[in-house]
């Protein structure tokens, strides 16, 4: 991980790109006040796994299309329509997985073409802030911010959990 602080504007780009890639609101990934600083943690960890150069290239690719709709950005950078995503798209996949699950999985090109090889849980905070649990309208197993009996009722909407749905979609 980085030892010198990454400039705020770079982390902002990283967070905004990640928001588009993950489908969550950027204010969830990088709130106005961010004491947890997941984007700093994740940026540094990803760089340590794929190189600064590769991260820079990905961010530049993002910046070139940053004004496009979020879903377009996601589909473009992840090359979701392609049966053979590029290395850069695979890095984007690993970044999505890191935000969702709190763990880093090797891009397939680093694992003889086989995706899904886990490296490690990035940190305890990474686990407890995983986005997949919000996508499930739940909470990380082992970390409930809710109170007794909440499970008896349906949860709040997917939008409330931070997914960037246009009109309160989801369940």
């Amino acid at each position: 991980m980085t030892t010198t602080p990454v400039p705020d504007n770079i982390l902002a780009d990283f967070a905004n790109m990640s928001a588009a890639l993950t489908g969550f609101q950027s204010s969830v990934l990088r709130p106005f006040l961010d004491p947890v600083n997941l984007s700093g943690l994740y940026y540094g960890f990803a760089v340590s796994q794929v190189s600064q150069q590769a991260m820079d290239a990905l961010l530049n690719a993002y910046r070139a299309i940053a004004t496009q709709p979020a879903q377009t950005i996601a589909d473009t950078l992840l090359e979701t329509a392609s049966p053979t995503p590029s290395n850069q798209a695979q890095i984007a996949q690993s970044i999505v997985a890191m935000w969702y699950l709190g763990s880093w999985y090797k891009p397939a090109y680093q694992n003889a073409g086989t995706p899904g090889a886990v490296v490690q849980v990035v940190s305890s905070e990474a686990y407890t802030n995983g986005l997949v649990w919000k996508a499930a309208q739940a909470h990380p197993m082992g970390y409930s911010p809710f109170t007794f009996g909440y499970w008896s009722q349906p949860p709040a909407s997917l939008a409330t959990f931070g997914v960037n749905v246009p009109d309160g979609g989801g369940q």
Binding site: S27, P31, F32, D34, P35
Partner: protein, 465 residues
């Protein structure tokens, strides 16, 4: 959602700075006090005032501030709030219980305080669920009558528990804090009038009343320049001798240990001079829907990890023996059971402050700065003021919250700093493990009444009988 909070907080941050609340102190300042006002016109500051702040006051954010800079600035505003709260709560009270405008904190070295006239929870949650009164006598246990003089306080808690000893809301095996003389640290929990009134008017002082309560528990929020809001204070005390009194806020109290079945020991009571070693203030405010948590410690409590590593140790501490090696006195160990507060213990707690601010360096940076300001101010009243011997560890505040209301989707409000512990009260859960290490808001979020209904971040309601 979050957007709303951002606007709210920004509005507070960039709004024209409000006037200092008009208090009796500023209208007719005592001569010594007038010279000590350091409120700069451009931002909030620590002041010698008996006015309890209803909420934090926010200065302007630096332009184009980075995340760190924003956090440092706002943390600073909350730390100023904490110090202003500490000063006002420790102000000498007048006959009505409010801070006496004709006096100044520490002018005579030590003084009686406003918060010590708040209502002890033992007098709020009475046997049989009887309705409490704000001002009234405390029942004196038979073992204490010999030493009792009217007005004396009775300290009985040896943990944050309603009964004697053992875990309370702490996750696991937390234990008592035992000083260098083998004596147990004692605790008190008190609530201010607005908190008391809410409990009384909603009949939450009894199990029966809690059972029929059908609403949502929501204590009143403090407002800047307005309503005080609910305040709860937790104090930690250790027995001191007369030679130490100059360094502590101290009181002569009755230390009472109710009889216990397991571990088995009879009741015991005795008069002691106790020194304040820790002060927790929980304050529900508009900007603190999850409450604002200000925690103070006596400066001689414990060394930090760095102090121990670097050998920069004081000659003595309240809860650490600098002459005992790590091998002989491994730090931060829970005393072995059984825990019997009526006896002098051969085990002395060897406590070190763990750095729980890694990645949140804005918190200790801000606290250090504010502590320096406050000490200067307090020592300026009287170089013998006991109050200069207390330091703010930090203030925990929710970064993402609405006005007096949590934001749906973020019940905890994403607190800053992410972990905070007072070595006298969260001694054994100093760390950085989510959901377990000390985090005021996270832990208090689990608080309920005697029924499993959420109790708005306070455990006091669990004491109802």
């Amino acid at each position: 959602m979050r957007k709303l909070a951002t606007i709210t907080l920004l509005a507070l941050a960039f709004a024209c700075r409000k006037e200092l609340p008009k208090t009796a102190a500023t209208e007719t300042p005592a001569p010594a006090q007038e010279a000590k006002l350091t409120a700069a016109p451009s931002g909030p500051a620590i002041v010698l005032s008996s006015a309890i702040p209803g909420d934090a006051q926010f200065g302007a954010l630096p332009p184009n501030a980075t995340n760190e800079e924003k956090l440092l600035a706002i943390q600073g505003d909350f730390d100023i709030f904490s110090w202003n709260s500490f000063i006002a709560l420790n102000w000498p009270p007048g006959p009505d219980g409010n801070g006496d405008p004709t006096k100044t904190i520490g002018q005579d070295g030590d003084n009686d305080t406003v918060w010590e006239h708040y209502r002890d929870v033992a007098d709020v949650f009475l046997p049989g669920g009887k309705p409490p009164v704000w001002k009234g006598s405390t029942p004196v246990p038979p073992e204490c009558t010999a030493d009792y003089a009217p007005g004396m306080r009775i300290l009985s808690q040896v943990g944050k528990t309603p009964t004697v000893l053992t875990e309370f809301s702490q996750p696991f095996n937390t234990g008592p804090l035992i000083d260098q003389n083998g004596v147990y640290t004692r605790y008190e929990i008190l609530v201010n009038k607005p908190m008391f009134d809410y409990i009384l008017s909603n009949s939450l002082y009894s199990k029966a009343g809690q059972k029929v309560f059908s609403g949502t528990v929501k204590f009143p929020c403090g407002v800047l320049g307005g309503a005080e809001g609910a305040i709860m204070v937790k104090s930690a005390w250790k027995i001191i001798d007369s030679s130490e009194m100059s360094r502590f806020h101290s009181e002569e109290v009755l230390v009472y240990s109710p009889a216990s079945d397991n571990p088995p020991y009879p009741a015991k009571c005795g008069k002691q001079t106790m020194g304040l070693v820790g002060l927790h203030i929980g304050h529900k405010t508009n900007s603190g829907a999850q409450w604002l948590w200000s925690t103070f410690e006596h400066v001689d409590n414990v060394p930090t990890e760095d102090d121990v590593k670097g050998g920069t140790l004081k000659a003595s501490y309240n809860y650490y023996n600098p002459k005992c090696s790590a091998a002989d006195c491994p730090p931060n160990q829970v005393p072995p059971r059984p825990w019997d507060p009526t006896k002098v213990s051969s085990f002395h707690s060897q406590i070190v402050r763990i750095n729980t601010f890694k990645g949140n360096e804005f918190a200790p940076t801000s606290a250090a700065e504010r502590n320096a300001d406050a000490v200067k101010l307090l020592a300026g009243v009287n170089p013998d003021s006991v109050w200069q011997n207390y330091e703010l560890i930090s203030t925990m505040w929710p970064t993402n919250t609405g006005t007096c209301q949590a934001i749906a989707g973020d019940p905890l409000g994403t607190p800053a700093p992410t972990f905070l512990a007072n070595t006298t009260a969260e001694t054994y859960i100093q760390g950085m493990v989510p959901n377990v290490s000390s985090n005021c808001i996270e832990c208090h979020n689990n608080a309920t009444m005697t029924t499993p209904v959420a109790s708005d971040f306070t455990y006091v309601l669990q004491r109802a009988q």
